[in-house]
Amino acid sequence: MNNKPFSTRHLYLFIAGIALFALSLACGYGYSGSAGYAPQPTMSAPSAPQQTQVAVVPVVMPTSTQFALPVPVNTVSPAILESRRLTFEYPPEIRLGDTDVVRLTLEVDDLGNITPTAQIEGNLVTGNIIEIPNLYDTHNVIAEARFDMAGPLIKPSELISEPLLPGQSVTFYWSIRPQEAGSYRGTVWLSLRFVNKLNGEESQKALSAQQVEIEATTFLGLKADTARAAGGVGSIVAGILGFPFADDILKFLWGRVKRSR
């Protein structure tokens, strides 16, 4: 006969019951959230059930709550699974009369890492891999660019399109020629156009808008080509004038001219 009011066996059963109760709470029993709503995977979301669990049974490991919560349904939209780098190159100053080139490149970033990682004191912490559908499989992607600037002559002035293919870079060039001296401001737009391969439906997304300021300069009011021509002619004339035997040559030439008369 067991005369003890609480035996060790009863105590174990009691603890197991409380643990089961806590686990059922952690699994979402009585969770009054709407069925269709998938909670955002933020760190603040599991805070409420975690507090409840800690209040009821402090013995049970509270960290298990994070794993026991319903997994949020990720509705990840298709994306281009490449890290890319946008390089924009332009001349901040152009000599009046000269033509220069503005270049915009959307290249594949070899060092780009899609999986988020962090290195802390030698320990590599790798983030969860989210399977993102590849946009190249479902859509034709076209990169479009336009250079808007009032004043200078820009070619091509209209929208330029180039297909964006996996692992390949796209580069856009514009030639710019200022007509007058002064400062010009403009914008270079880059957008992606997605054309659905199945139904041909099109959608567009702006990727970048680069602000540009270009100054057209002169030298004492001279254009670049005029200055170069004047510099060339002046150098030749100065070279003739400064020639050591120029005096003798000029006297000889003058003497021949006089003799011929």
């Binding site: 269709g36 390089t87 000599r95 997304k205 001279l222 170069r228 070279g239 400064g242």
Partner: protein, 57 residues
Amino acid sequence: MKTLRLSLAIILLAISLILLIWGFLPVKRETRVQPVLPSEMTLPTPQSFILDPGSVS
């Protein structure tokens, strides 16, 4: 006469060289590099159309 000629030549040469240097000096170029993440190259999803469940009674 010779001094005047040489002085004129030096002045003319200096001006000409300044013009040539300005005319042929390579133009300074500015380069901007901006990383583009895969999350930026997704289909446009208007976030405003997604209703907040908390605001729906």
